[in-house]
């Protein structure tokens, strides 16, 4: 039992490291690989928690996560955005990598600081996952704000989702129907946003969404 718990701590550490990697990678291919890695770590943590608490619901969640996040979502992205994914272009970002890493570290500390008062003895099972999930969420929102490329933004969105579920599996379990609905919905989000990205790429000739700045209150057009 104790071994499982400490193994989960290791998985948690790897999860947050993978989130860092996902957020600072400069090539779209490596962002996608980091996302799959992050999803696998989420699955691993879910399996460990399922074993730790003898929970069949969590085992079902792990299966759904494998199907949605590791298999279908990367598949959908590769199918709809093949060309954009293979483009060997640097992802532009408004803030450089060392500063970003420092800020992400700060956000991780902030997450622990926010969650610490909530973790009493009855909440021990959440001690690893809850702060790290919140950290992944904060880091993802930050990255979404500074990245200028559509595919990278989509993957940041999905990484935030992983953060939420990384915390979620440790603090609550829902029925299989609810979990399946959530997984299916994640797939639909990626499908629709990927098709929108492809349309934007066809119109703009690139997926640099930061160049979309026509709308606003400036001079009348």
């Amino acid at each position: 039992m104790a071994a499982l718990a400490s193994l989960n701590t290791v998985v948690g550490a790897l999860f947050i490291l993978m989130t860092f990697l996902l957020m600072v990678s400069r090539q779209i291919q490596s962002v996608l690989r980091a996302f799959v890695g992050q999803s696998l770590l989420l699955v691993l943590s879910t399996v460990l928690l399922a074993l730790l608490h003898h929970s069949t619901e969590l085992a079902v969640v792990a299966l759904i996560t494998v199907a949605a996040k590791v298999i279908v979502i990367p598949g959908v992205l590769t199918r709809t955005l093949g060309q954009e994914l293979r483009a060997r272009r640097e992802i532009e970002s408004a803030v450089n990598v060392p500063v970003s890493l420092l800020l992400m570290l700060g956000l991780t500390v902030l997450a622990f600081f926010l969650v610490a008062p909530l973790l009493g003895p009855p909440a021990a099972r959440a001690a690893v996952n809850l702060p790290l999930g919140l950290a992944a969420l904060l880091i993802g929102v930050y990255t979404l704000a500074i990245r200028r490329e559509a595919v990278a933004q989509v993957l940041s969105l999905m990484a935030i989702d992983n953060g939420v579920f990384f915390a979620g599996v440790a603090i609550t379990t829902s029925s299989a129907i609810v979990e399946a609905a959530a997984g299916l919905e994640g797939v639909m989000v990626v499908l629709v946003v990927a098709i929108l990205t492809r349309t934007i790429a066809q119109h703009l000739g690139s997926t640099e969404v930061s160049s979309l700045q026509q709308l606003g209150e400036g001079v009348p057009r």
Binding site: L114, V115, P117, L118, G120, P122, A123, A126, G133, L134, L137, V141, L144, A150, Q153, L157, I160, D161, G163, V164, A167, G168, I171, T172, T173, S174, V178, A181, A182, E185, M188, V189, V192, V193, I195, L196, T199, I200, H203, L204, V209, L212, Q213, Q214, L215, E217, V219, P220, R221
Partner: protein
Amino acid sequence: MRLSAMLLGVIPAAPLVSAALCLVVKNVRVAKLSTLATALLAFAASLAVASDVTRHVGGVLLPGWIGVNALAALILVLQGFVGLTAAAYSWGYIPHLAPGDPARQRRYFLNLNLFQASLFVVPLLLQPVLTWVAIELTTVLSIFLVSFANTREALEAAWKYAVITIMGATVAAFGIFLLLWGLTRNHVTVQTWSALIRTAPHMPAGVVALAFVLILIGFGAKVGLVPMHTWLPDAHSQAPTPVCALLSGVEVSTVLYVILRLWPVFTAVPGLSPQSWALVVGLVSVGTAAFLLLQVHDYKRLFAFSTVEHMGMLLLCLGLGPLGALACVYQLTTHGLTKSLAFYGSGSVLLATGTRTIGDVRGLLRSAPVAAAALFVGALAIAGAPPFAVFLSELTIFRAAATAQDYLVLALLLVFLAIAFLGILRRTGGMIFGHPTHGPVRLPRSVAAAMLVGIVPVVVLGIYLPLPLYHLLGMAAATLR
């Protein structure tokens, strides 16, 4: 099982049937006809459900999964009504957006029906996690409606809409998980709204506080609260007009409904004081939107900013004591009915002139009198002039503020609303009067008919509040306490 409980299933199924028809039958006329027929059916069903809810019967189709309370029934009626007028408006409007392309028109009606179904599902679900999934679906299924024009601007609007609101919903999901954690810690296994409300006083205050902040930020982004509102004027102005009416009239309120439904959970925890948060965030939204209103050059954006203002006002009501709850649901109702009319008016101006720029349009009263009348009534009504519905509901808000002795809030609100009032009327007034800039135009009959239907409740509710609606509002307000 009672009839009204079965009707709960009919409401979202109706647009789905219509969507299936749009997909299978390759004929635009069939698509239009089925959309209108099912919209009428869904609206009638929502009225029947609401009427039964006010008489304390029915309301649950599948215990623990599907059911409505008074607030949810109110939202359903609003969705049903705006859905009906939007279906009628689309009939004559969409052929102008995709002339000579029946396949694209059919795709529009397919997407519209799917979006409408996702909206209907939100108030029907009894489990917060499922409601969250439904809210995400409303975003996913409306993205292609926002980008329908396929211009650079529409794609920009759709992109911002997708990224910001999906991010917001994901942040809110964290908050919902935290609330469910509060249930687990109290060994409650049922994850419904009522279980949350019952268990809330026993939850750790810190957990609920963090959940509250995450849900307010997350769903606040999709409701369009300042400072997460930046996407709203873009999406709510670039979409085709009937979609704007649905987005601005009911979609934002449908998301706010989730915050309202959770409100008793937040207020049950000592030391959290969500009322103060509501007052501050609400006032900031109203104030910011009022000043931004003065700067717009695009008349559809004008009404989009007015939505930000009204959403701020709805949140603010939650901080105004017992009468505030009634003011909130009352304003939510009048706003949905009136904002959709305002968008129908501006859409018909777009049909008549082909431009969105306020400065390029003058003299509508002579060139397109029907469009001018709809725009004028819509603008006056949404700005809060008597004798229209919003005037009465805003009076209720003022009364709630005075009763709660929040005189500073009342004064600031009056100043902001006066600014918004002048901003809206000055902008639209210039378009209506003066020498015509465009030639005379006849609007499609269905567009005029949709506006005529849309105007009825705006005028009627400005004169008096029918007793059944009064009961429904009272019961809906009671669910916020």
